[in-house]
């Protein structure tokens, strides 16, 4: 296992534009981050903020016809060349063996006419010319590892015979079949009920620790992210608006959006109305100038609409936010915290 801190995947200035009937959708508009070995990175944001498109772009799973990408995706064990725009043959050697992905809805993520065993064996043999018997054995042990009881019998079952939680476990097994170094999990628990959610997340964490692989966990649920991740990036309207360690971002958010997301989380002792963020995200086709969050921001001033946003260092340890008033927000946060503890 390599030392913590070695970069595994670097995404640099990624842009993904989609050509649609209504115009050009700037789904990802200048996103950069780095995932290190054995690190769990969380990407959090509302629906439509670009987190899923970012993951799919990294995997090369966006449809080539109507999508345009620019920037760099560097997978360090394979050298410093960008995976973006690499040929399908090259991507094929990377997918599965180095980068793997699990998707949001387990019910549609498996081929309905093939049984689970065949689909898992297919994943096992994708990068390893082992015998059929050996592949089968490995498949069974994988299913076992992800917590599916009576694994060898269930190999012959079809997806429609599995529950949502079981399917997601099977998908995790498929993703890990070729021992990837980085797992991208796109909202893996969103369509599952709460108890199963917990189980799946525990499983993922366990697997991550056992294998030492890195993980990118995508979610709109800040609570999930804060539990699982080492580092967090917050996305809004196709851009990264805050990044930093989980502890820093959660306890001392420097961007108004992150702040609002935290406020919106229901608290145990809370009474009265839930606080939510009024308004809705801007159009990704006719993207407004200046700060994209300004229209909904409680700290916004008229200058915010004219400021071409960049990520500004805020606080310590590579904490950064896309807000020029982050300092005031931090001070404001301290003030609230002080008043909270005072009134407690």
């Amino acid at each position: 296992m390599s030392a913590l801190g070695t970069p595994l995947l670097t995404v640099r200035d990624l842009h993904t534009y989609l050509a649609t009937v209504q115009g050009v959708v700037r789904a990802v508009d200048g996103v950069s981050f780095t995932v290190h070995e054995a690190e769990v990175l969380g990407i959090v944001g509302e629906s439509g903020c670009g987190k899923t498109v970012t993951c799919r772009t990294i995997m090369g799973l966006m449809p080539a016809r109507s999508v345009h990408t620019e920037g760099e995706v560097i997978y360090h064990p394979r050298g410093e060349g960008s995976l973006l725009g690499a040929s399908e043959d090259v991507m094929r050697t990377v997918r599965g063996a180095h980068l793997a992905m699990i998707f949001q809805d387990p019910m549609t993520a498996l081929n309905p006419v093939l049984n689970i065993g065949d689909q898992l064996i297919e994943a096992v043999r994708a990068h390893d010319r082992c015998s059929a018997a050996e592949a089968r054995t490995r498949a069974i042990s994988l299913l076992d590892r992800v917590g599916i009881p009576a694994a060898s019998r269930r190999m012959r079952d079809y997806p429609f015979q599995f529950s949502g939680g079981m399917l997601q476990r099977a998908l995790i097994a498929i993703a890990l079949a070729s021992s990837p170094r980085l797992l991208l999990a796109d909202e893996p628990t969103t369509s599952l009920d709460v108890i199963i959610q917990d189980q799946i997340l525990c499983l993922l964490l366990e697997l991550q620790r056992d294998t030492g692989m890195s993980m990118i966990l995508v979610s709109h649920d800040l609570a999930v992210i804060s539990e699982m991740c080492d580092k967090i990036i917050v996305m809004y309207a196709g851009q990264v608006v805050e990044e930093g360690t989980a502890a820093d971002v959660i306890s001392a958010p420097r961007h108004p959006y992150t702040h609002a997301l935290l406020e919106a989380l229901p608290q145990a002792e809370q009474r009265g109305q839930l606080r939510n963020i009024s308004g809705s995200p801007p159009s990704l086709i006719n993207v407004p100038g200046g700060c994209r969050f300004a229209p909904r921001c409680q700290f916004a001033t008229p200058e915010c609409l004219n400021w071409e946003t960049t990520l500004v260092a805020a606080g310590e340890r590579d904490h950064a936010a896309r807000c020029w008033r982050h300092q005031e927000i931090a001070e404001g946060q301290e003030a609230w915290q002080r008043s909270d503890s005072a009134s407690a």
Partner: protein, 316 residues
């Protein structure tokens, strides 16, 4: 897991439908306005024969007895008596079965050979050369009446360029293949329109499914994804359509046999209408319907074999 769990129910359903068919064909004869005996005998009308027919059909007895008589005869393989041919209708019909069955199977296979590759490629490369040109081609051919298309094909490939024979069944297996090529092509072109469209739509839909992304994510070859994941799922939609349209295919044989002068059931049906040979009309109709029912049963079985979800459902 038993893929064919629905089989017993399905067979029962088939039997019920077969009974229903006999009811319909039975009532067909009752549609004749006026005196059926007169209509059936035509020019060979004599009083004795008329009385014999009345007794045969049981026209003076209650309707259920008549039906009972009809079913009883059916079970003994008796389809009635053809006054036109002066022979048992069963014998007449049996002599005409071979060309029609050959033609149906030939057309079905040819349609699959033509439409599968075109439909699949059209779906994969939407808007591409194959897609655009096949769309134009099939919209045109769909609007062409089968018999007219047959005549045009004869004009081009039998008259102007003597490649294929104009009519007839030929002898021997290879002879049949040769003689029946143009008729089979005529039928399969009409059939293929629906198949191509269906496979194309199914392919497009399947390509957008999430499990294709999972398959690609594994890092397997695209060719394998295409075959094992995309095609295996798209083809399901086509099997259903294939079965349903086989009914129209059978209708097509009637016309095509006429155009190409094939001595099959279709020609027999048409000639017996103008010959006022009612028992033969009735018998051929019944036979066609039974064929359809068997084809539908076969289609359902094929679907159950290909899609594990289908066989589980009770009934059809």
């Amino acid at each position: 897991m038993n893929r064919f769990g629905m089989l017993p129910r399905r067979l029962l359903h088939t039997v019920i439908v077969l009974f229903g068919i006999t009811l319909v064909t039975f009532f067909l004869l009752r549609l004749i306005p006026g005196d059926p005996a007169l209509a059936i005998l035509g020019s060979s009308y004599t009083h004795t024969r008329a009385v014999a027919i009345d007794n045969f059909l049981g026209l003076n007895k209650p309707i259920w007895t008549q039906y009972g008589q009809y079913m009883d005869r059916l079970f003994h393989g008796n389809l009635g008596f053809s006054f036109f041919y002066d022979e048992s209708a069963t014998v007449v019909i049996r002599q005409h079965i071979a060309p029609t069955v050959f033609l149906v199977i030939y057309s079905a296979v040819l349609a699959a050979i033509i439409s599968m590759p075109i439909g699949f490629i059209s779906g994969l490369r939407r808007g591409g050369a194959v897609d655009q040109s096949s769309r134009v081609f099939f919209t045109l051919s769909f609007a062409m009446p089968a018999f007219w298309l047959g005549i045009i094909l004869i004009l081009i490939f039998s008259v102007k360029l003597p490649v294929f024979p104009i009519s007839g069944f030929g002898s021997g297996f290879v002879g049949h293949l040769y003689y029946l090529f143009l008729p089979a092509l005529t039928i399969s072109l009409g059939f293929s329109t629906v198949l191509v469209r269906s496979l194309r739509a199914a392919t497009i839909a399947t390509l957008q499914a999430e499990f294709i992304d999972t398959a690609r994510m594994k890092g397997i070859r695209w060719r394998r994804v295409l075959w094992r994941h995309v095609f295996r799922n798209s083809v399901l939609a086509v099997v259903a359509v294939y079965g349903v349209n086989l009914a129209y295919l059978i209708g097509g044989t009637v016309l095509v046999e006429n155009v190409f002068s094939l001595p099959g059931l279709g020609s027999l049906l048409v000639s017996s209408v103008s010959d006022r040979d009612y028992p033969v009309v009735q018998g051929v109709t019944l036979l066609f319907a039974v064929l359809i029912v068997l084809i539908n049963l076969f289609t359902d079985l094929a679907q159950a074999a290909l899609d594990p979800r289908v066989g589980q459902e009770i009934g059809t």
